[in-house]
Point group: none
Chain length 233, copies 4
DNA sequence: GATGAATGAGGATTCATTCAT
DNA sequence: CATGAATGAATCCTCATTCAT
C-alpha cells in the first residue's frame, strides 16, 4: 500500500551542465511565460507582460532569450518532464498487480504533473501545435510516444497476467490517455467542456474513470481465463 | 408588351449575380474563418487571410462583420447549435437497449459533428476560452451543458434498465465526453497526443472505447463485490 | 425708413446656363454637404453621410461630383453669394446718410447671408483654407476682397460727407468685418468664444456693435469739421 | 577611490542624454502637434507627421500619448491656461485710466498670447469644437468665460469712472473680443478674410481698433442724446 | 548585467472610389 | 440614371526587438 520505488529517484539532480546553465537563466521568466502562454496563447501574450510578471524589464528578457519564439520553445523544453526512462526501468521491477499499478500511476502522475504548472504544456501544445510544427514534433517524440509506449507495456502486462482481456493496443491506450488529457484541459481552459469546473475533484474523477476503465478492460465473461481481479477477492 | 416567357421560368434564380454573391459572402467568410481560426488560433490569423481564403478583399470582410472579434463570435455562434436538436429528438424516439443507444449516439455524433468542420469549434474553444470569456460561457451553456444532460439521461436510462450499475453521474458523464473530446482534438491539433494521427481510424477508435466503457459500466458481479480501485486508499 | 432699392433686383434669375446646369445637380447633395462640412470639417465628413442625408446612395453622389474634393469646391462655389456687383451699383444711387446705410447693410446682410446656411462657408474657409489653397484664394478674390472694397467705399462716403473722421482705411475696414465674422463663427462653432451662444441675439449684437463703432468713427471733438450726426439732431 | 571632482560639478545636468530626451519628448511632440493641427486640422494631420516634425518615430509618440485624440486633448490643455493668471494679476494692480488699461491689456495680450504659438488653440477650437464637445466645453469654461469676465470688469471700471457710458455688458464685451479673435484667425487661416495678410501689422491693427472702440464707448454728448442707430427701426 | 526609450514592420480598420447590375 | 457590393490605399495603433546608457 505504501508508494513503491516508482518515481522515487532524484530526478532533479539529473540535469546536465547545459541544463544547469539554462536553469541559471531566470526561472521566473520561464514560469511567467508558461503561465501566460497557457492562459492567453502564444500570440496574445506580450513579452512585456511576461517580463513584468517575472519582475524584470522587457530588455532583460531578450538577454536570456533571443526571441519570443525561442522563449516559447524554452518554456516547452523546460516543462517537458520526461520521467519515462526511470519509470520504464522501475516498471520492470514493479511487483504488484497491474490494476494497482495503473491506479497508483494515474494518481501519482496527477500529483506530480497534472496538478502542476507544467501540465499547461499539454494545453499549449493543443493550441499552438499548428504554429510550431517542430516543437509539436519534439513534444510528440519526447512525451506522447514514450508515454503511450509505457501505457502499452502496462496494458500488455495486464493482458499477460490475465487481468485484462486481449486488446487492440493501438486504440486501447487512449482509454487511459484520453481521460488524463481531458482532466488537464478542463483545468486550463476554464473547463469549457465541464459544467462546473470548480466542482470537479481530480481525485474523484480519476477514481471514477479507473473504476470504469479497469472494470471494462477485464476479460469478457465467456473468455477462457477468468480475470485475476475477481480471483483476488 | 413586356418581354414574356423568356426569362420567366426560374423565378427564384432571377437574383442577379451581385445579389447571389452578397448572400453567399457571410457563409464563405465564416467557413474560411473557422478553418483558419482552428488551424492557427484567433490572434495568429490575419483578417486578410480569411478574406483571401473566402475569395474577397479585406474591405469586404468588414462589410459583413464589424470587427475581427465579432467575426470570431459569429463563427462560434454559426457552428454551435447546429446539430443538437436532432440528436435530442432521435434520443427520445430510440427504442433499443441503452448499450445500442450509446453506440448509435456516438457514431451518429461523429458523422454529424465530429467529422464535420463544426468540430473545430471545440478546439477553438479550448484554445481561446480564456480570451473570450463571454463566448466561453455561452458555449458552455449552449453546448457543454445540454450535451452532458443528454449523456446523463442516457446513462440513467441504462441504470434504470439494469444494464449499468449505479454511478456517480457527476463523474461518469466524462467517461463518454472525454473520449469524444479527445478524438476531436486529435483531429485538429496535428494529433499532438497521438503517435500517428493518420493511422487513427475514428470508427475503430469509437468501437474500442465503447467496448471498454460499456463493459466497464455494467453491474458488478455479485452486486456487493466492488473492485479495489474504488476503495479509499 | 423703408428698405431702399438696395439688394432689390432679382438676384436669383441672374444665373447663367452653366449655373443652371449645376443647379440641376441634386441641390440636396450640396445642401447636405455644406451642413456636414461646416459641422464636422471636410476630412471628418464621410461622403456616405452626405449621400444619406441627401437621401441618395453613395454611388449617386459620384455621378454628380467626380470626387469628394470637387464636392467641397462645388459647395463653396454654390454658396458664395456675390451680390457685390449689384450692391456696388445700387450703392452709387443710395441717397440716405452713411450711418443709415451701414446699419441697413449689416442687418440686411445678416438676414440674407449671415443667418442663412451659406454663412457656414466662412467657418469652412476658416477651418480648411490651409488644405484648399486654391479655393481659399478663390474665396478671397470673390468674397473678401470685393466685400472689403465695398466697405471701403462706404467708409469713404462717410468721411467725404463729414460723418466720419479721416481713417487709415487699411485697418478701419476690420472694425466692420471683424464683428460680422465673429457673429458667424459664434453660430457655427458652438460659440466657443461666447459664454452662452443661444442667448446671443444677432440683432441686438449688431445694434450694440453699430452703436459703438459708428459712434467711434465720428470725427474727434477737436476736428475742424463737426460730425453730421450731431448736426442732424 | 571613486572618481572625484571630475564629473561632480553640474549635478542637475548629470541626467543622461537618454533621460534628458525623454523629458523633452512630450513638449516637442505637443509643439509639433499644435502646429500641424492648427495648420491642417485634426483629421487631416497624420500622427506620423507629428512624430516626424518632433524628430521621433511613430511609435515614440504612442509612448507618450495613448491615442491621437488624447494627443489633441493634451495639446489643448497644454496651451489653454498658460497666460491667464498673469493677465488677471496685472489687471488688479493697474492704476492708470481705463482707456490706458484697455490699450495696455490688448497689446500685452497680443505679445503674450496672440502672437505666440498658443493662439493657434483658438483657431483649433473654432475648427474642431464640433468634433470634441468635451474639449470645447472645457475651453469655454477655462478660457472664454474668464476672458469675458475680465473684459467685463475692465468695462465696468470705465463706466464707474465716467470714462465710458452705460452699456449692455452682455453685448459690449464682444467689441473687445471680436477684434482680437479676428486678429488671431487672420494669422492662422491664411488670412482668408484679409486681402493681404502679410501687410496687416498687428500693432497698427490693435491701435486702429482701439481708437475706434474706445472713442465709441465714451459717454454720449449731452447725455440724453443718442445716435439714431440705437433707435428701433 | 539591467534598463527602458526608441524603433518600425505588421495588422486591424476606415472610407473614397469603382463598376456590374 | 441609380444602386450598393466590392475594393484597396491610407492610417491608426501594437508590440517584438534593438541599443545607448
Amino acid at each position: 500500500m505504501s508508494p513503491p520505488k516508482l518515481f522515487c529517484c532524484p530526478v532533479q539532480t539529473a540535469v546536465t551542465r547545459h541544463e544547469r546553465r539554462k536553469e541559471a537563466r531566470p526561472g521566473e521568466l520561464l514560469k511567467a511565460a508558461l503561465e501566460l502562454f497557457v492562459e492567453k496563447g502564444f500570440a496574445a501574450t506580450r513579452v512585456e507582460e511576461v517580463a513584468a510578471r517575472a519582475g524584470v524589464s522587457k530588455g532583460t528578457l531578450f538577454l536570456y532569450f533571443p526571441s519570443k519564439e525561442e522563449l516559447f520553445k524554452a518554456v516547452v523544453r523546460e516543462n517537458i518532464t520526461t520521467h519515462f526512462k526511470e519509470v520504464n526501468a522501475e516498471f520492470d521491477a514493479f511487483e504488484g498487480t497491474t490494476l494497482d499499478m495503473i491506479g497508483f500511476c494515474m494518481n501519482s502522475w496527477w500529483d506530480r504533473v497534472g496538478a502542476s504548472r507544467a501540465s499547461g504544456i499539454t494545453k499549449l501544445m493543443m493550441s499552438e501545435a499548428n504554429n510550431f510544427p517542430e516543437i509539436a514534433a519534439f513534444y510528440q517524440q519526447e512525451v506522447s510516444l514514450p508515454g503511450q509506449q509505457l501505457i502499452r507495456r502496462v496494458l500488455q502486462r495486464g493482458i499477460d497476467s490475465g487481468e485484462f482481456r486481449s486488446l487492440d493496443m493501438d486504440y486501447a491506450v487512449y482509454s487511459i490517455v484520453a481521460p488524463m488529457v481531458f482532466l488537464i484541459l478542463s483545468r486550463h481552459s476554464l473547463g469549457i467542456c465541464v459544467s462546473n469546473p470548480d466542482a470537479l475533484d481530480p481525485k474523484k474523477y480519476i477514481a471514477s474513470q479507473l473504476s470504469i476503465i479497469l472494470y471494462g478492460l477485464r476479460p469478457l465473461p465467456g473468455d477462457a481465463v477468468r480475470p485475476a481481479i475477481e480471483a483476488d477477492r
